[in-house]
């Protein structure tokens, strides 16, 4: 701390000047003439990065496919240009979304896998009157009566209900009557919404929930949880969690040789890292999912070729979300956000990447929800999950306690 003070002052000047220059760069709008610009916001860093990266790859691939097929034809073959931004937390979502809107002049925004981040971003897009097409499925997203939000997949509670109803239906076919179930969920927006769906479905079916446990995201010791599960006498376990806790829970169950069927709640249960983390323990684990690669093999094959792993449901749904934006532009013959929004609101398509959404179509209702979509069940078979339920979408029969259910 004894060097010449002048150097210090100069250094301070340089630092502040650098800040000022960087700051002034924001004034420059970045926009190519004939491209249509779509913003992509995803958590590319932080705890949800692996989902965000998968989702972003899905959108990138979709943009490539749309551009390769001639772009937006009604706009003279305009190419889709994606502008991506990292939104690790809801705190940064508002500012980042605002940046995409005011600097990049986006026609629409796609993304933000995480529900809370999507809620934060949608408050900005609604005020700026820019359509936001999302896969995030907390019930509040379409529950606020907003006009500029569109959700390609069903609501969180619907996933919860499906997780319960599909599982009991498969068990019934296998000749097992379900009286007691267990719900384990992390206390995030996604976990609580889906747990509520599970709980309501169980109540409706008259099935007792013998264990209903919330635990914090980032839990490091699941053995108390697993001990409670063992003691509860539940016939099915429904864990709802992101990746790390899903690995801990399944590993603990298998190591203690608890053989009750486990039905995961999407997220961590159906990504390549699940298999990587668990190896053989992954085999036969069921999970609810918003989509599956085997429902849209041509996209799945391209994805695998490009990124080296199987396509995840967040990649498929975000690809479909971008395709919905492209089809809306095609229909509106415009990239004006307001016209794109109006075209999205009246969109009714069963072509293109919409085929990747179970139900095969995209048509939004008044609240912005895609009503034709339904959840599916996938089951781990070797390296990839395979769609096993409901029958109209299934590619293979489900296996319940080692028995193939026809």
């Amino acid at each position: 701390m004894t060097s010449a003070p002048l150097d210090r002052r100069r250094a301070a000047g340089v630092m502040l000047a650098a800040g000022a220059v960087a700051f002034s760069l924001f004034a420059e709008p970045v926009r190519a003439a004939e491209d249509v610009v779509v913003g992509v916001i995803q958590p590319l860093s932080g705890p949800n990065a692996q989902f965000g990266i998968g989702a972003q790859r899905g959108t990138e691939l979709a943009a490539e496919m749309i551009n390769a097929a001639g772009g937006i034809k009604s706009l003279g073959g305009a190419k889709i240009k994606l502008v991506a931004a990292d939104v690790p937390t809801p705190n940064t979502a508002a500012s980042t979304t605002q940046r995409l809107i005011s600097q990049n002049g986006v026609s629409a925004v796609v993304g933000a896998f995480v529900s809370s981040t999507t809620l934060a971003a949608s408050e900005v897009t609604e005020r700026a009157q820019i359509p936001l097409v999302t896969f995030a499925f907390a019930d509040q997203i379409t529950g606020r009566g907003y006009d500029y939000i569109f959700q390609v997949s069903p609501k969180g509670t619907v996933f919860g209900e499906a997780q319960f109803d599909y599982a009991t239906a498969i068990a019934k076919k296998a000749g097992e009557k379900i009286d007691k179930v267990a719900i384990l969920y992390e206390d995030t927006a996604y976990g609580t919404a889906q747990a509520k769906g599970l709980r309501d479905a169980a109540k409706k079916a008259g099935v007792e929930v013998v264990l209903d446990e919330a635990y914090p995201l980032g839990i490091t010791d699941v053995s108390p949880l697993v001990n409670k599960l063992r003691a509860s006498g539940a016939q099915i376990a429904f864990p709802v969690s992101y990746l790390n806790d899903s690995l801990l829970i399944i590993r603990a169950l298998r190591q203690q040789q608890i053989d009750i069927p486990v039905i995961g709640g999407a997220a961590g249960y159906i990504i390549p890292d699940f298999k990587k983390g668990l190896g053989d323990y992954a085999e036969g684990v069921l999970s609810v999912a918003a989509a599956s690669g085997d429902l849209i093999p041509e996209l799945a094959a391209k994805y695998k070729e490009k990124y080296g792993s199987f396509i995840t449901h967040e990649a498929i749904i975000h690809a479909a979300a971008l395709d919905a934006v492209a089809q809306a532009m095609e229909k509106a013959k415009s990239s004006d956000p307001q016209k794109v929004r109006d075209a999205l609101a009246t969109l009714d398509t069963c072509t293109g990447l919409a085929k990747g959404v179970p139900g095969g179509c995209i048509k939004f209702d008044k609240t912005g929800l895609n009503t034709s979509a339904f959840p599916v069940f996938v089951q781990w078979r070797g390296e990839e999950p395979v769609t096993v339920y409901p029958p109209q979408a299934a590619k293979a029969d489900p296996i319940w306690r080692g028995q193939t259910v026809k």
Binding site: A27, S95, Q98, L119, Q140, D187
Partner: protein
């Protein structure tokens, strides 16, 4: 004789005038104004923190707790009872002030790291409560400020510039509060506590009372910042509003990088850090995952290594009397009291 216009005061005046005029020179719907508003808001938060953290050297890592209390109080009052956030803002300040009293009674007997850890736990406890008491707080899904167009009576504007001026006014008020505290009798007592708590006690300073007053004022101002933040960003959830890294540490960091215990420090710190972070995000976040945070972190480490006493240490200081200015004790105050 003290003159009214010292260079430092003139600089501060120029800063506020320039800041007040900024919205006339930039795109009113643009991102630049939004970033500038965030700079001012974080400067106000860091200045609030500076009252206990800087003047009394009570390094708190739990100020997000007060911040979140402010956001939750005003938003819940509005959502459940229809009370304007302008009023809710002060209700939040009262709630946070009360929480500061409750928190101070057990924690002020702790020193240094132990105090920091106790305050850290305080914000964490609030985060867990907000997450689990879903019927009341909305739970992990968070709370949205309903979209209702321009309603100035309910703290809702269409133009970013309106929020900007509100935030600028807040910063001015917080800076004034800091200045009055620092230059008044309480400020001398707080500095006495910072230099040597036992000696201050022996000299007749009621150290507990002094720290308590500073802590309550700091908490109340932080809560007001919380309300403004919620109104400005339209949405918050427990994990983000009580965030340790995102808010508690950031408030302290801005004050420390700018210059602990100085009036200009939090402003300089925010002017340096927030645009830097935004720039890193804007240009690097689409390149590789986590790259922007990495670059930001590296620059931050460099800044602290080059000037551990903060950016304000570069500021020429003719105003201070010679005896005070040559005092070496300002260096590394964080190590003290441990």
């Amino acid at each position: 004789m003290r003159t009214l216009f010292t260079p430092s005061r003139a600089a501060l005046l120029i800063f506020f005038v320039a800041a007040a005029l900024l919205p006339f020179f930039v795109d009113p719907r643009g991102h630049l104004l939004r970033v500038a508003a965030m700079v001012l808001l974080f400067a106000a938060m860091a200045q609030s923190w500076n009252i206990v953290g800087g003047l009394a050297n009570q390094i708190s890592l739990g100020h997000a707790g007060f911040f979140g209390l402010g956001a939750y109080t005003s938003t819940l009052l509005f959502l459940k009872l229809g009370i304007s956030p302008w009023i809710g803002m002060f209700a939040g300040a009262v709630v946070a002030g009360g929480a500061a009293v409750l928190l101070s009674i057990p924690t002020f007997r702790l020193k240094g790291h132990y105090f920091a850890l106790a305050t850290l736990a305080f914000a964490e406890v609030l985060r867990v409560i907000a997450n689990s008491w879903a019927d009341f707080t909305g739970g992990p899904v968070g709370l949205s400020i309903p979209f209702m167009g321009s309603q100035p009576a309910y703290f809702a504007f269409r133009a970013v510039s309106s929020y900007y001026w509100v935030i600028l006014g807040l910063l001015a008020a917080v800076c004034l509060a800091f200045h009055l505290l620092a230059s008044g009798a309480l400020g001398y007592r707080l500095r006495a506590v910072r230099e040597n708590e036992n000696a201050a006690e022996v000299a007749g300073v009621n150290t507990f009372r002094v720290k308590l007053i500073a802590s309550v004022i700091s908490a109340a101002l932080t809560a007001i910042c919380g309300t403004v933040f919620a109104q400005f960003t339209f949405f918050f959830d427990p994990d983000s509003i009580f965030s340790l890294a995102g808010l508690s540490v950031r408030m302290a960091m801005i004050a420390i990088v700018g210059g602990l215990g100085t009036l200009g420090g939090p402003i300089l710190g925010a002017l340096f850090l927030i645009p830097l972070e935004e720039t890193a995000n804007a240009f690097l976040s689409s390149k590789a995952a986590g790259l922007s945070q990495f670059v930001f972190g590296v620059i931050l480490i460099a800044a602290i290594l080059i000037q551990p006493r903060g950016l304000m240490a570069w500021w020429p200081k003719p105003r201070r009397r010679r005896a005070e200015a040559s005092r070496p004790a300002v260096a590394a105050p964080a190590a003290k009291g441990a």
